[in-house]
Amino acid sequence: MALLRTENVDFIYSKGTPFEKKALSHVTFSLEKNEFVGIVGTTGSGKSTFIKLLNGLLAPKKGAVYFNEQNIWSKGYDLRALRFAVGISFQYPEHQIFSDTVKEDIAYGLKNQGVPENLWQDKIMEVLKIVGLDETYLELSPFQLSGGEIRRVALASIMVMRPQVLILDEPTAGLDPVGRDTIYTALKQYQKETESTILVVSHNMDDVAEYADSLLVMSAGQILAQGTPAEVFSKTEELTAAGLAVPEITQLLHHLKLSGLPIQDSLFRIEDAAQELANFLNEVKKDE
C-alpha cells in the first residue's frame, strides 16, 4: 500500500486568464513507507508545484491525491492534520522565520500541533543535533544567521513535528559542498532514526544520485523517467534532451565505454565507479 500517491494529476496556474500556465500534466507517482526519493528536473519543470499538491497547499485541477489511500480532497478531510503528517521545507527558508529566537521558530510547529510545552525542549534539542547545530543557537535571533544556518533551522522546524513524510525543496541551493553534505547526512540519519519517508527536490543529479533509493525525473510538467538511479541514468540521451545531465562520474564512464573500454557505464557513485575502473585495470595488468 502506497503511503502517499497521486493519480493522473494536472495543475494549471491562473486558469481562465491570459496568464494561464499548465504546470503539471498526468503525473502519477507513489511513495512507499521508508523510501528516500529524489525529484529532479530543470528549473520550471513543475517540481515545486508538484510537492505543494502533496500536502494540500494546491488542489489538482484533474486527478487525485491519496494519503494512506484516502483522497485528501474528499469532503471533511482534515488538511491541517495532513500537513503535520506530510511536512514540507521550502526552497526559501527565509520565508518562514518571524520569531525572536531560533528556539521559538522551531517551536512554532509544535505549538500549532498542540504539543505540551514541557516536551518542547527535548524535541528541539534532538532535531537541532540532527541538523548539526548546538544549543548556543537556541537563543540567537534567526535573522542574524547565515544562509546555511537559516536553512538548517528551517529544516529542524519541520523535522521537529515528526512528519511521516518529509519533503525538501532544493535543500542545498546556495550551499557549499560541505553544507550540502551536512544536510544530506542529516537527512539519512533522520530517516534511519525515525523510519520516515523522504522526498528531496533538486535540479542537481549529483546531489540526489548518491542518496536516493529511487528517482522521479520531471520535464515540462510531465514525468520523463522514474525508477532506481541506475535505471534512470541509463537513459542518458533522454535526460540530455530534457536539459539534464547524468552525474559527472557516469558521464565519464559513458565516454570511456564509447571509446571502446569494456566497462559498465550505469554507475553513479564515486566509490562504485572507482571499483569498476580498478577491476578493469587489474584485468589488464593480469593479461600482460
Binding site: 491562473s14 486568464t17 497547499l57 500537513r83 527565509e94 520565508h95 522565520i97 512554532y108 522546524s157 513535528m161
Partner: protein, 264 residues
C-alpha cells in the same frame, strides 16, 4: 499574480496597445470627465457602445474585464442601495419607513453605470499599456514641473519601482503563507485576536524580505551609477502618430455629443 487583475498589463499588438501612452493617459482623464457629465440614459447607452468598440479593438478577454470590475461591485451595490432608499421624490413603492422613489431609482442606476463605465474605462489604460510606458508617459506629461524644482524623473522611478513590486510581494505573501501553513498555521480563525496573531507570521517575513529587496535594488541601481543630476535619454522616444490624432478625435466627438445631450 494569482487573481489580481487590476493593473495587470495584457500584452497585445492592437491599435490601442500601440497608441502613445500620453494619449491614453490624457484620454483616460477625458473619459472620466465625459462620464461624469453624462446624464441621460440614452447617452449612457452611447458611451457604453463606445466602450465596447474599444473593448473589441483592444482584444481584451471579457473575463479580465469582469475580474477588474468584481472587486468594486460591493461598493457600487452598497452606495446605490442607500441612494435608492434615501432619495426623496415621487414614491413608487413603500414599505414601512422605506420608500423607493422614481428619482432614487434613476440616481442609483446612473451611479452604477458611472462607476462601472469609469472603472472599465480606466482598466483599459493598464490592460493595454505596459508599466514602463505608463511611467514614460507620466514623466513626459509632468516634465514642465521640473522647472518648479520637482524631480520628476525620480518620482517616476519611485512610482515604477513601487508598482513593479506589487505582484512580486503578492507572490511572496503566497509563498510565506504556504510555508507557515506547512507548519500547521491556520488562517481561518474568525476572532479578531486570532486574526491578529495569524498575521504576524506572515507580516514579519514579508517586511524582512521587502527590506532585503530594497537593499539589493539600491545596490544594483548604484552599480549602474544612477544619479538624478545626469540627464538620461530614452530608448523608445515618445512620438504622437496619426492614430493618436484619430483617438483624440473620437473622444472629442463623444464629448461634444454628450455635452449637447446634457444641455438639450
Amino acid at each position: 499574480m494569482n487573481d489580481v487583475m487590476i493593473g495587470q498589463y495584457i500584452p497585445g499588438s492592437s491599435k490601442i496597445h500601440q497608441l502613445d501612452p500620453r494619449t491614453k493617459i490624457l484620454l483616460t482623464f477625458w473619459w472620466i470627465i465625459t462620464i461624469i457629465l453624462t446624464n441621460r440614459l440614452f447617452y449612457f447607452g452611447l458611451t457604453a457602445l463606445f466602450l465596447s468598440f474599444i473593448l473589441i479593438g483592444a482584444q481584451i478577454p471579457i473575463i479580465s474585464i469582469w475580474k477588474s470590475v468584481k472587486p468594486v461591485l460591493p461598493i457600487i451595490l452598497f452606495t446605490s442601495f442607500f441612494n435608492l432608499i434615501y432619495t426623496q421624490g415621487t414614491v413608487l413603492w413603500s414599505f414601512y419607513f422605506l420608500a423607493i422613489t422614481q428619482e432614487g431609482v434613476q440616481l442609483s442606476l446612473f451611479l452604477i453605470l458611472r462607476i462601472l463605465l469609469i472603472v472599465i474605462g480606466c482598466s483599459f489604460l493598464t490592460f493595454t499599456t505596459s508599466l514602463t510606458s505608463i511611467t514614460d508617459g507620466l514623466e513626459s506629461l509632468l516634465a514642465p514641473l521640473q522647472k518648479l524644482g520637482v524631480h520628476v524623473n525620480d518620482v517616476a522611478m519611485m512610482v515604477t519601482i513601487a508598482i513593479r513590486f506589487i505582484p512580486t510581494l503578492s507572490e511572496e505573501i503566497q509563498k510565506i503563507k504556504d510555508a507557515q501553513k506547512s507548519r500547521g498555521a491556520s488562517f481561518s480563525d474568525q476572532k479578531f485576536l486570532g486574526k491578529l496573531r495569524g498575521v504576524i507570521p506572515i507580516l514579519v517575513p514579508l517586511i524582512y524580505s521587502a527590506f532585503r529587496r530594497a537593499y539589493e535594488l539600491t545596490m544594483a541601481i548604484e552599480c549602474r551609477c544612477y544619479n538624478h543630476e545626469i540627464k538620461r535619454t530614452k530608448m523608445n522616444q515618445l512620438v504622437f502618430k496619426r492614430n493618436d490624432l484619430v483617438a483624440f478625435s473620437f473622444f472629442c466627438t463623444l464629448f461634444i455629443v454628450v455635452i449637447i445631450g446634457r444641455f438639450n
